[in-house]
């Protein structure tokens, strides 16, 4: 993946920029030496590394504003970073870009049980929001698997999901307000403690904008009362078709589980070796169906799911009868990534979404693509919402194998789009899928998105090289073709 060429005019300003920054920040919050910069040279898309021009660690919104205004004046690129857990390279530094770390924005500012919301600085971790309200039996619903480390600001930037978003929604469905700083230093507040932000839904637009529109400094999230109980059912199947059919039947029966996960044979075997969760090994596919709510409802729905599974050719049915058993069902699923890490030096985690009904066909075709590219692939799948995570195993020490893995991944994502799906369900486009945007969007679609970018950041200085294959100049995008103004459709109905 090519990043835009470093601009000499930026690299040449490094010393002057450092001097300017020292008037804004104490020296220990400006990271400039190589060994320290190395800690920031990648996010969770580990195949890509790049030392940033320098790193700044602001403490206050005023500092963020001043830093951005300074960089804007000097026409220097800026990449914002929370915990650096992006799986798509959203926080990958640029050689000619300042890396703005929100690591010090780590305070929960307000817990309001009466209005059922929490306001936190953007560098607060996802899990610590839930922890902060746990004693009152509340929690913050979106639960990306990196929730112990990932920040709420990063969650907003990426519109993060998690295994429970089938029932509780993604980040965008769970936030009420935010504060952000535009590239020119302007501070904007959106929403608050009330529902439905006023005017254009810029809150919704910012969510999932991958750090291209503004730097998020504060977020207000809704918190929910924790369900009284959760139980899970573990279902085994002889083939993916049967498993896919049961997923469809559960949804068709009006049941929206809290989580509905599928694992293929490779993952089952790998995670069983790794953590001994007690999964059946004689099956081709496993489903974990989790129901949460009050005990009466959960028991009722568990029985329905079991009936649907038995009617749908499930070969093994286990129902969790204790919290320990429920956690055991999840243990293998949650260990899937480290389990693969023990089997393969490297892997790429893909993230396409497909219509649920296409699942068996897509899994078959992914296997065929694996044979074609000569690489192993395993599948974990948020089956309830059609979000596929094929894990492509490769060895970066073998020259050319990363490129083969990437080509394989691209083929999978093209397949997702071909069957009516999309490139990414929850990881974001970032750097990783940037060059595939043309598979799903035509130039007109991309141009309109880039025009929106221009409304926030006219010089394209915020996180360039991400999301869009080529970031066009705003003046060029603003140009309009006005034809002679005659209506070439004289038959157009006019009333």
């Amino acid at each position: 993946m090519e990043m835009p060429a470093a601009e000499a005019t930026i690299l040449n300003q490094r010393e002057a920029l450092i001097t300017d920054l020292r008037s804004l920040l104490p020296a220990d919050r400006i990271v400039i030496d190589q060994p320290s910069l190395r800690a920031y040279d990648r996010d969770a898309l580990t195949a890509y590394r790049q030392l940033p021009l320098l790193v700044v660690l602001p403490d206050t919104v005023a500092e963020v504003s001043q830093i951005l205004a300074l960089c804007n004046r000097r026409n220097i690129k800026v990449v914002a970073r929370g915990a650096g857990t992006s799986l798509s390279g959203g926080a990958l530094p640029l050689e000619d870009g300042v890396l703005l770390s929100l690591g010090r924005f780590n305070k929960v500012l307000d817990i309001d049980y009466d209005n059922r919301c929490v306001t936190a600085q953007s560098g607060v971790t996802n899990l610590s929001i839930s922890d902060a309200v746990a004693d009152q039996n509340f929690y913050y619903a979106p639960d990306p698997s990196s929730q112990i480390a990932c920040t709420i600001g990063g969650n907003v930037a990426e519109n993060s999901g998690g295994v429970h978003c089938l029932k509780y929604g993604m980040t965008t469905n769970n936030i009420l307000g935010l504060e952000m700083v535009l590239m020119d230093g302007t501070v904007i507040r959106l929403g608050g403690q009330h529902l439905d932000s006023e005017g254009y839904d810029l809150l919704g637009l910012l969510t999932g904008s991958e750090g291209l529109l503004g730097v998020i400094t504060e977020v207000t999230v809704r918190i929910l009362p924790r369900p009284e109980v959760a139980r899970a059912v573990l279902l085994g199947f002889d083939n993916n078709e049967d498993a896919g059919q049961v997923v469809g039947n559960i949804i068709a029966n009006g049941i929206i589980p809290a989580g509905l996960e599928m694992m293929d044979k490779f993952i089952i075997a790998a995670s069983e070796d790794y953590c001994h969760a007690g999964y059946p090994l004689d099956v081709e596919a496993l489903l974990i169906v989790e129901l949460d709510g009050n005990p009466v409802e959960v028991d009722h729905l568990i029985n329905q799911v079991v009936d649907i599974a038995k009617a749908g050719a499930s070969t093994s049915v286990q129902v969790s009868n204790s919290e320990a058993e429920r956690l055991r069902f999840w243990l293998g699923r949650k260990s899937a990534f480290p389990a693969l890490g023990s089997l393969s030096p490297d892997y790429l985690c893909m993230d396409g979404t497909i219509p649920r009904s296409q699942l068996p066909d897509v899994l078959r075709r992914i296997s065929a693509l694996g044979v074609h590219h000569g690489l192993r692939v395993a599948n974990v799948f948020h089956a309830g919402d059609g979000n596929l995570h094929p894990l492509i195993m490769y060895d970066s020490n073998i020259p050319g194998e990363l490129e083969i893995a990437e080509a394989f991944g691209a083929d999978i994502l093209r397949l997702c789009v071909e069957v009516g799906g999309v490139l990414t369900g929850e990881h974001g486009i970032g750097v990783e899928k940037r060059d595939l945007m043309g598979v799903i969007f035509d130039q007109g679609d991309l141009n309109q998105q880039m025009r929106v970018k221009c409304a926030f950041d006219p010089e394209g200085r915020l996180n360039p090289g991400k999301v869009f294959p080529t970031l066009h100049r705003c003046a060029e995008l603003g140009h309009m073709h006005v034809h002679n103004g005659e209506l070439p459709f004289p038959e157009l109905p006019r009333l």
Binding site: R116, G192, E297, D385, G425, F489
Partner: protein, 449 residues
């Protein structure tokens, strides 16, 4: 007399908008016209009628997704979904029973009255289930549109979980047709609940009711409707309902809490709530408690969403101008906002009434368009906004009826919450990024936008 353009194909739609750009001519964007009375009036030479883009093109019940022309009547969509026991979970309301002034001839057919799918999305208009299941925008998965530049584009997709590119569906929802003309939209649908029950608690004070609703919402009973009709609503005249809510019950304040789901769960939760809310020491005990069944619940919650309990203020025969305001506020302070406005601004004028929805976070206010004598400004807008200020949130002048110049009043009022300068400038730049010449619905949301 405005010229009406009614394209049936994307090419024609592109052509109309490009023509408008070339002629510096503005277009008022409409579906069935059911929401003309909401927002600022548009001063446009032409009307862009999108009702030609009608029909459900793709509906797969097992995928919980539906794609339709933006001009498809909501009534048609709901009929089809009901056949499959599914629904639009954001519960699009129907205001046609309350606001009569703006219904044109065209809407005489009942299927048009509720408006179109594109219309409800472009206003991001949701009903009582909003705080539980999300707003219209949360169910809006993707669209195809022609921008105000006259360029076709699409965004989103047909799957629920999608972060591919900017989420322009969110931007379109609530933009009131000022950015682009959507011609095809895709929405998420959900299964209808098997059973519905509504717990009614009568006779609490406004403050106690707020506490009571707050404690109900803090339980894991998944309340999907939480509305409150204050005692003041019953003082002028008794309230009527097509449900049994007032059949055997006092005409007094009433809290309504809705619970939906499988039968055993619904019974369990209703009992848990009843037990909790009738024995708490944090607020007075209700003087009467009742539970509505599924059928009555459906009728009652439609009445809440459709503003039925304010309808006597907006009868077609009224000659005095009356305003309907929609106040979105932090839920726990909704009642205080309402009191501040009714008592401090309007000095307990009997022509002012309100009720709350969304667990207290949404106040529907009916009041005269003018402030009482002696107020700093004649238009009551300013006083209402000032009264809300301590608590945050936003106020929208939802509708004005009565008299001959209701539209003039909306034109002379900041219908949507005025924005701080930097946000207003950003809003303007976003608008220009879609519609640089301002041909689509100019002035519909803000003067000069």
């Amino acid at each position: 007399m405005s010229e009406i353009f009614k394209p049936n194909t994307t090419e024609q739609l592109i052509d109309v908008i490009q023509w408008a750009n070339a002629h510096e001519s503005a277009l008022a964007v409409q579906g069935s016209g059911s929401k003309i009375g909401i927002g600022r009036p548009v001063d446009a030479e032409g009307i862009l009628d999108l009702s030609g883009f009608s029909g459900i093109s793709q509906y797969e019940p097992n995928e919980l997704v539906l794609t339709a022309g933006a001009g498809t009547p909501l009534a048609d969509i709901e009929t089809l979904l009901t056949e499959h026991r599914q629904m639009l979970a954001f519960e699009p309301p129907d205001y046609s029973g309350v606001f009569h002034d703006h219904l044109s001839e065209k809407q005489s057919s009942s299927s048009q009255k509720k408006g179109t799918l594109g219309g409800v999305l472009s206003g991001n208009i949701s009903g009582p289930r909003r705080f539980y299941a999300g707003a219209a925008r949360d169910h809006f998965l993707g669209f195809r549109a022609v921008s105000g530049r006259g360029d076709p584009f699409k965004s989103g997709g047909r799957v629920v979980k999608n972060v591919t590119g900017f989420d322009l569906s969110k931007l379109m929802a609530g933009s009131w047709g000022t950015l682009a003309a959507c011609w095809e939209v895709t929405v998420k649908v959900l299964p209808m609940p098997e059973k519905t029950r509504t717990l009614l608690l009568f006779g609490l004070s406004d403050e106690d009711a707020s506490r009571c609703i707050g404690s109900a919402a803090a339980t894991p009973n998944s309340i999907s409707g939480a509305s409150y009709l204050p005692a003041s609503l019953f003082t002028r005249s008794p309230q009527s309902s097509a449900s049994s809510v007032f059949a055997n019950n006092p005409q007094s304040s009433v809290i309504a809490l809705r619970v939906e789901g499988p039968e055993p769960s619904v019974e369990h939760r209703i009992n848990a709530l009843r037990e909790l809310l009738t024995t708490s020491k944090n607020y007075a005990r209700p003087n009467h408690v009742e539970v509505l069944n599924s059928t009555d619940s459906r009728v009652f919650w439609n009445e809440i969403g459709n503003l039925h309990f304010l309808s006597s203020d907006f009868q077609a025969s009224n000659t005095q101008q009356q305003a309907c305001w929609r106040l979105s506020v932090p839920p726990a302070v909704g009642w205080q906002v309402a009191h501040n406005i009714t008592e401090k601004v309007f000095k307990s004028n009997p022509k002012v009434s309100w009720f709350s929805d969304q667990a207290g976070g949404l106040i529907w206010l009916s009041c005269p368009v003018n402030s009482p004598a002696g107020a700093p400004t004649k238009n009551s807008e300013h006083s209402i906004r000032s009264a809300m200020e301590p608590w945050g949130g936003h106020a929208t002048l939802w509708q004005v009826t009565g008299g001959d110049n209701a539209a003039d009043h909306r034109r002379n009022t900041q219908v949507f919450q005025p924005q701080p300068k930097a946000l207003a400038a950003l809003t303007q730049r976003v608008k220009r990024s879609f519609d640089p010449n301002g041909v689509l619905n100019p002035g519909r949301m803000y003067t000069g936008l």
